[in-house]
Structures are given as C-alpha cells and as structure tokens.
C-alpha cells in the first residue's frame, strides 16, 4: 500500500471499518514512525471517542457498581506484571500506541532486588527489540501480501466488470435475435395473410365472373341485346286498332328458350283497375302475359316465358280488368297482321 492509501485508511481505522489485514498494515506503518498519520489518527480517534457521547444516556443498574467494587482485585496489576492474559479475539483500535508509547512505569512497590530488576529490564528490552524487529519484518511481509491481495482484488474486479459487460452484450444479442425471429414470424404471417387474401380475391373474381355469366337479363336494353344475338327467332308485327291507331307492337319468340318479347309503343295509359293482356290465338285465345302502361309511358317491353306456343297464328293485346282474364273481354288495342 502507498502512503496515500495508508493515510486514507486512517479515518476508517478510527471508525473500526478496516479488516484485520488492513488494520495490521496501518499499524505497521504507524510503528515505522509516520508523524502525519499519527497526528491524523489522534484526531480521528478523538472523533470516534466522542460518538457515544452523542447517544441518549442510559444509566446502568444501581447494583452494578457494588458488584464491580466487590469483584476487583485488591490492587491494580501493573502492565508488565500481567503477561498471561488470554489472546484477544481482535486487535483493539489504539493498541498500537503501546509500542510507540511504552506504558507508564508501574507502582514502585516491587520488592525484587535492584540487580534482578536491572536484569529483568535488560531481558525485557532485548526481548522487546527482537519482538519489535520480528514484528516489523512480519509487518513488511504482511504489507507485501496485502499489496498482492489488493492487486488480485483489483484484477478480479476488472475481470468481473468485463464478465458483466460480456454478459450484457450477450443479452443484447439475444434480445436482437428474439426481435429478428419475431419480425420473421410476423413477415411469414403477413405473407400467409397476403396469400389468403389473394386466394379470397381470386375466389371473389371467379364468383363475380360466374355471377356475371349467370346474370339474367333484367333491363330492356339487355333483353334487346340478348334478343338480337339469338338466331332463328320468330318475329311478328302488331298494329294499333281503332282504339289506338298510333299504337304499334313488335313481338319476338325464341322457341329454344321459350321466351316472348313484346315491344309496344304509343299504347294509351291504362285506366284505373285495368291492364293490358297479350293473347296468342290459334283456335282460341291463350293468355301470354299482362302489362301496364303508366302515365307518361309511351313504350313498354313485356318479357315472359311461354311453355308451349302452340303454333299461334295471331297475336293481340286487349284491355282487361286488373289481373287479366282467361279469355279476352275488353277491346283490342294491338293486332298482328296475319
């Protein structure tokens, strides 16, 4: 660790936030005599010692003092005379100062001879020196180990960062793949729908075409157009009777389709509750159909089917009561010439 790193760890040391190795590294550094870190630590330890003073005070049980006063030894034990204390589970912050500032000379009540005292002091001093020396060496080793550990930790962190990045990229690729797959599916679906629509359209076209071909002639124009295309059609001309001299008619008959067309012009308007009736006459009249001339109408086309035409020679149109009659009862308005 660099000096800067060690110096930065001082407030963490005072707060008790360093782990064992870091704590030992800083303590080794302090033992080396760094004045600035020493000074900083004193400040931060003063801060740390103040913290519990900010807590709301809780007084201990009254009986505690008596227990403590009764439980202590007759006299305090000087630091040098208490070497056999059990190993502590952790290093207490500030313990390092014991090395820097040797404990105050204990009570002068030692009854050992002076020479023994000097010898003991010598042993303690020499032992202390070796212990300090070993401790320093150990601290250097610890410091080196710490450096390596820090390096490993740094590399591990970088590796973890890279792994995370790779993981992120893989996730992005996977997302893009999913999206592409989704789009492909959508496109396939759209193609299917398009094919279906085209098939439907084709079917509609076919139906339309069939309908067109199967479409029966409904309008007079279409009827006439159809009529004009039919070969071997029989045509009969009708002229107006005295009832309607200006009237005329033209009748066509197609034996194949058994259809009759009567095109009449200038027939007078049907009076109320009457209708025109077309007759085919051979031996007796046979009703072919009825039609009505409305007000303002000058021409009319009657189209109807006749199952059997019976080789009729004459055709006539009479005015009959509404609904027509089995036999002609009213006046004739149109008559064929033959």
């Amino acid at each position: 660790m660099t000096h800067e790193e060690l110096e930065e760890s001082v407030p963490l040391y005072a707060a008790g936030a360093l782990d064992r190795i870091e704590r030992q590294a800083l303590e080794a550094h302090l033992l080396s005599g760094c004045a600035s870190c020493h000074s900083a630590l004193k400040d931060y330890q003063s801060v740390a010692a103040l913290l519990p003073l900010g807590l709301s005070p809780t007084k201990p049980p009254r009986s505690l003092k008596a227990t403590i006063m009764a439980g202590r030894n007759p006299a305090p034990i000087p630091a040098e005379a208490a070497p056999n204390e059990p190993a502590r589970p952790s290093l207490e912050p500030g313990e390092w100062m014991n090395h820097v500032f040797p404990p105050v000379a204990p009570a002068r009540s030692l009854s050992l001879p002076w020479a023994l005292g000097v010898a003991a002091l010598l042993i303690v001093t020499v032992g202390g020196y070796f212990a300090w020396n070993m401790s320093t060496q150990r601290s250097i080793d610890t410091s080196n180990i710490k450096k390596l550990e820090a390096l490993i930790q740094e590399k591990s962190t970088k590796l973890a960062g890279l792994q995370r990045e790779v993981g992120d990229q893989a996730n992005v690729v996977a997302e893009l793949r999913n999206e592409m797959l989704q789009r492909t599916n959508e496109a396939t679906e759209a193609k299917k729908q398009l094919a279906q629509r085209e098939a439907e359209l084709e079917e509609i076209r076919i139906q339309l075409s069939q309908r067109e071909s199967a479409h029966t002639v409904r309008t007079p124009q279409d009827e006439l157009a159809s009529l004009l295309r039919i070969p071997n059609v029989k045509a009969v001309s009708l002229t107006g009777s005295d009832m309607a001299k200006r009237a005329a008619g033209f009748l066509l008959y197609d034996s194949q389709t058994q259809k009759v067309w009567l095109y009449s012009v200038n027939l007078p308007e049907c009076p109320a509750a009457t209708t025109y009736q077309l007759w085919a006459i051979r031996d007796k009249p046979m009703s072919i159909g009825i039609f009505h001339m409305d007000r303002g109408e000058t021409a009319h086309l009657l189209v109807t089917k006749v199952p059997s035409f019976m080789n009729a020679k004459t055709f006539a149109v009479s005015l009959e009561p509404s609904g027509g009659r089995p036999q002609p009862t009213g006046p004739m308005y149109l008559l064929s010439r033959s």
Partner: protein, 200 residues
Amino acid sequence: MDKPSRHATSMIDPTLLARVVKGDQQAFSQLYDHSSTLLFTLAVRILENHEEAAELLQDVYLEVWRKVSRYDVGRGTPVAWLVTLTKSRAIDRLRARAARGYRATSSLEAGTAALVADLGPSPFETQADQELRIAVGAAVAGLPQAQQQAIELAYYEGLSHAEIATRLNQPLGTIKTRIKLGMSKLRDGLQQWWNHGELQ
C-alpha cells in the same frame, strides 16, 4: 451508595486514573461514577441488551482496574481510552454472539422498562456533558444519511467496509468514501471540543 457525582464525563481528569493506578479505591469509585453511564449507554447501543451490557461493564471496569497502568495520556483522553476499550470488548462479544448464531432478543425492551426507575432527572449529566451530547448529536445528524449509516454500521456493529458494502449492496469504494467523508466532517465539526481542552 456513592454520592452522585457532578463531574462531567467528558472532563475526566487524567490524574484520577493516576490515583487509580496507585490503588486508590475512592478514585476508582469516582471514575465509575464519571464514566459508567457513558460506557453503559455505548454497551447497550452495541449489544442491544441491558443484561449483557451490565455484564460487559463489569468485565471492562475490572480490566480497567487491573490494567489502568497501561493508560498513557499521550494515547488520548481518559474518556477516549475507556470508550475504545468498552467498544472493543462489546464488538468482541457481538462477534462471539454472531458466531454462536445468537440474535438480540426482546430483552432490550424488558431491560429498558426495568431501568426506567433508575433514570430519574439526570444528576449524572452536567451541563458540559449535555452541551457536548447536543453538539455530537447535531454533528452526527448533520451528516448525509448514507454517511451516518456507514459509520454507525462500522462503529456500533463492528462491520468492516467490505461487510458494510455487502449488507448495503453498494460498491466497496462508495462505502469507504462515505466513511472517510463522514469522519472528516465530524472531525471538522467537533474539533473545537478537544482543541479547547474540554476533554482533557
């Protein structure tokens, strides 16, 4: 029962400890009167258990009695020494407890109820202590919540920065920075209290 002392906990005289070193029982009694509330408060805060805090205090004062000669004014104030020792021993207990899988129980509340009668109108807290308590409380409360939390987890729960980072699910560097900044602010805000010799 000793007379309630009106000496400020924050102003324990180092010479009192020098008297204890010489085996002065009255000095030891005074030392207890001056410091026991602070140390008990700290122990309860860390252990969250009044009975255990009382046991701890017993150990701490006996250790103080036996090892008081180790105290050197050059290492810090008497209060700092006592607080450091108590905190260290309490954290040790906390860790030993965690190793046994023990968790704090509701005895804290029970203990609090049992001790209410002892609390009374604070004859143990001088005006100087009160002022200092308010100053420290304000300084701690003035820290951003995250810095305060990180320092408290280290100080009162004995967690290392790595353990705090894990618990709070934050990067290690962030936790270190929070503690450093927080401690630095506390130092700047409270420096007057030891520079002016209040704690000496």
